[in-house]
């Protein structure tokens, strides 16, 4: 199981690239995609999901070119788009049965799989209600279930935890970790904590460019001694925001405790703090922007 992406690019208009020169070799595990809005994450995922044709480059799935011949990948692909809908008159079981048929599952496997997925996504009790009456979080869980119907070898999930409550988010993260043992999971999100707790590899994207491809621990190592905690009076905050990259601010009795990402100590009173992925993300993306 191997996904090889070489010089991938998508030009939407003349000289406007949604993604450019993207090269990656992906093995089983969770690949976390991080980047600001409009960075090119969804474009990248749609190309992997065989929906959007790239302008340049190749995508090989086990040495098959999926641009020329997408069906081998489609048979083993699970995809949860960022923005999707459901058929409002169907209930969850009927919708999943429909998607299972489209994905080519036989009826015997379908029933068992749907029962399992409804348990896993905590939808079993609402399974016979029309989807039109589902909340946003419940629809998202139906989306997750359909992505897992065919036991995909490549699972692509774009902002999967949007609309999920904290408990469902934890449940989904655990599920992803479990699944990633023997398949490729590509996860895109703005919620850094989702990636922090699950990803075995992180790719940072901005303005269609691949900024960093690294294991989370290596990213964190880069930040050793570059994250600082400093408590300042509230009134100083606006000025400091212009001066430093601030990755967090917590109100305290004696002012505001800032978390600052900086090569050198911002102030003699500032103390070194343990870095996290949010700090790394801000440093790399903001560094790129400035």
């Amino acid at each position: 199981m191997n996904l090889t992406i070489t010089n991938l690019g998508k030009e939407y208009q003349r000289d406007f690239w949604g993604l450019k020169d993207f090269t990656l070799d992906v093995q089983p595990g969770i690949l976390g995609l991080l980047g600001p809005n409009g960075a090119g994450k969804s474009t990248f995922m749609r190309m992997l999901a065989t929906i959007t044709k790239p302008t340049t480059g190749t995508i090989l799935w086990d040495n098959d070119d999926i641009v020329k011949n997408p069906d081998p990948l489609r048979a083993v692909l699970g995809y949860l788009p960022q923005d999707f809908g459901v058929y409002p008159n169907l209930n969850a079981i009927e919708f999943l049965e429909y998607m299972a048929a489209i994905k080519g599952l036989d009826s015997k496997s379908t029933k068992k799989r749907i029962d399992e997925l409804l348990q896993v996504t905590n939808l079993a009790d609402a399974a016979k209600r029309p989807l039109g009456g589902y909340s946003g979080g419940m629809k998202q869980r139906v989306g997750i279930a359909q992505a897992l119907l065919n036991d995909p070898q490549l699972l692509i999930v774009d902002e999967p935890t949007v609309g999920l409550d904290p408990e469902e988010r934890v449940r989904f993260r655990n599920l992803l970790s479990d699944l990633s043992e023997d398949r490729i999971v590509i996860l895109s999100t703005h919620i850094v904590s989702d990636i922090e707790s699950t990803a075995t590899r992180i790719v940072l994207v901005n303005k269609g460019q691949l900024l960093r491809d690294s294991a989370p621990e290596n990213l964190l190592k880069e930040l050793d001694g570059k994250v600082w905690k400093w408590t300042v009076p509230s009134a100083d905050l606006p000025a400091l925001k212009h001066k430093h990259i601030i990755s967090g601010a917590v109100r305290r009795r004696d002012g505001v405790e800032l978390r600052i990402v900086s090569e050198s100590s911002p102030h003699p009173q500032a103390a070194v703090a343990d870095p996290n992925l949010e700090d790394a993300y801000l440093l790399i993306v903001k560094g790129e922007q400035s």
Binding site: Y87, K103, D106, L117, Q119, D125, Q146
Partner: protein, 521 residues
């Protein structure tokens, strides 16, 4: 002042949003096409075998009446959809949080609908100058005589139609396909009703008003004239022409015509009463009721589950090969999806039509009951080819194996099966009568309907195009016995092979359209 400002910006933004859409180009194209057809003489007016000299009054009135007829009938479908667009785009939810009132919103939409019509009408009005000059019978351009029919006949009608479009959009059951079909027949029935009014100026289309004036001139000049007024593609020999200098637009006529603005305003106000102000709770009453009923039998799992600790979840491996997906499960799923959500009354009427077609004599079955049976599922067929886009499921479907051939053919087969199902009584009837040619014709119809549905759905990304096209073909063909459009075979001159060939082409176009959708993501 503030209200006027809101009204202006609401109508302006709505107009900008529409004129920048691809569909607006189609509207302008339609106007240009009508102008061209009039210029080359394919669309015209005649009174029995007489027509007017191509002076400004005649050309202006002819083009204005053609615009009234086509924009009044089909323009409704082009302008309808603005409220739905606000609903779907989510802009409506934002608007609902502003101080905008319901009447202001519906009036804004009414004005915007009219503005769209005005743009289309402007093209025809300008084209009418060219038509008069091109004809060369009278090159003296009298702008008042030329444009007055547009101003006093067409524009008031379009104000009326614009308001009806807003009203339809605010009433739940008229928003979708059912509303489209109801309007189609409403328009057909409104013409003769309007023509029987005492004051011809109050007839919405303005036909009576202009016809009466023209007929007076013809009668005076040609005493043998016995009446008869034809508008549209009017083949027939023109034996003579007459000079008609137009209508004397008296204040009472103008007032009567402009009363349609008043009627439009009342309709827009009425629409405000029905408008839900994008409050989903008003639309989801039925769902909520059903949910409540379900909850009696089901435990309120959400709350209980949320308080449980997070369990570790595992999925078992799936031991099935999906590398060569088969056709039949998709076909079965499509049939299920097509029929899902139909009320018992819908099924009862469909079964009633099947039984009636079996028990009635063959000629009644073919000429009346089968056409009824094949119009009844129109809203089911109209979902073919577009429901993936409409319900935003396309990314999931298009990233599945064989999204083009397998899926389109499964949808088509489901549509075909539906046609066969509702025609099953007729099939038995014809079979018992040994009417093989009737069976062949029926088969060609059953093939034609889903082909037309799927190609319309795929290329328009919506259900409206099929609903309009199909009703039009159904009305002209099977109901009015025009052989070239009779896909049911209610006339002996019907040609099943033509519809079969057309179906193959339509299906090929649908497949090409879906391949394009999949390619473009």
């Amino acid at each position: 002042m503030k209200t006027l400002r809101i009204f202006y910006h609401l109508a302006r933004a709505d107009l900008y949003e529409r004129v920048r859409r691809y569909s607006f180009l189609i509207m302008l194209g339609l106007s240009a096409f009508l102008g061209y057809q009039t210029a080359i003489g394919n669309l015209t007016i005649r009174l029995d075998t007489y027509r007017g000299e191509f002076n400004s009054a005649w050309v202006g009135s002819m083009v204005a009446l053609i615009a009234s007829f086509f924009f009044g009938w089909f323009g409704f479908y082009l302008v309808k959809g603005s409220v739905m667009h606000d609903r779907k785009s989510g802009v409506g939810q934002i608007m609902a949080t502003t101080p905008i009132t319901r009447p202001l919103y519906t009036f804004g939409k009414w004005a915007s609908n009219m503005a769209v019509f005005m743009a289309m009408l402007l093209i025809l009005a300008i084209a009418s100058i060219g038509i008069q000059l091109l004809a060369g019978e009278n090159t003296n351009i009298d702008l008042i005589a030329l444009f007055a029919p547009f101003l006093f006949v067409t524009i008031p009608l379009l104000a009326f139609v614009s308001a009806i479009a807003v009203l339809f959009e605010t009433i739940g059951f008229l928003q979708g396909g059912l509303g489209n079909i109801i309007y189609f027949f409403l328009f057909i029935f409104i013409i003769p009703l309007g023509m029987s009014l005492e004051d011809p100026a109050l007839e919405p289309l303005g036909f009576s008003l202009l016809e009466n004036s023209m007929a007076k001139v013809v009668t005076a000049q040609f005493p043998s004239y016995q009446g008869g007024f034809v508008l549209g593609a009017a083949p027939g020999v023109i034996t003579d022409t007459f000079v008609w200098s137009g209508i004397d637009w008296t204040p009472s006529i103008i007032a009567a015509r402009f009363s349609f603005f008043g009627i439009g305003a009342i309709i827009a106000l009425l629409a405000a009463l029905f408008f839900d102000r994008f409050d989903p709770s008003r639309r989801k009453i039925k769902i909520a009721k059903k949910r409540k009923k379900d909850d009696i039998h089901q435990s309120p799992s959400e709350e209980i589950k949320l308080s449980e600790p997070v369990r570790a979840v595992r999925l078992l491996p799936l031991n099935t090969d999906v590398r060569h997906p088969s056709f039949f499960p998709v076909f079965r799923a499509e049939i299920k999806l097509l029929l899902k959500g139909q009320r018992w009354l819908w099924c009862a009427i469909a079964i009633g039509l099947i039984i009636a077609s079996l028990l009635s004599p063959s000629d009644i079955t073919r000429s009346i009951i089968l056409p009824m049976a094949w119009i009844w599922p129109i809203l089911l067929w109209s979902s073919l080819g577009n429901r993936e886009i409409r319900h935003n499921v396309s990314q999931m479907v298009f990233s599945s194996p064989s999204p083009v051939w397998r899926h389109i053919l499964a949808q088509w087969s489901a549509g075909f099966m539906l046609a066969i199902m509702v025609a099953s009584g007729t099939i038995l009837r014809l079979g018992l009568d040994g009417d093989l040619s009737g069976l062949l014709m029926l088969l060609s119809g059953a093939i034609f309907i889903p082909s037309l549905a799927i190609v319309s759905g795929v290329w328009s990304n919506g259900s409206k195009l099929f609903e309009i096209l199909y009703v039009l073909i159904w009305y002209l063909g099977p109901m009015n016995r025009i052989p070239a459009l009779d896909f049911i075979g209610s006339t002996p001159e019907s040609q099943p092979e033509v519809f079969m060939l057309a179906s193959v082409l339509l299906l090929a176009l649908a497949i090409a359209g879906r391949a394009r959708q999949v390619k473009n993501g």
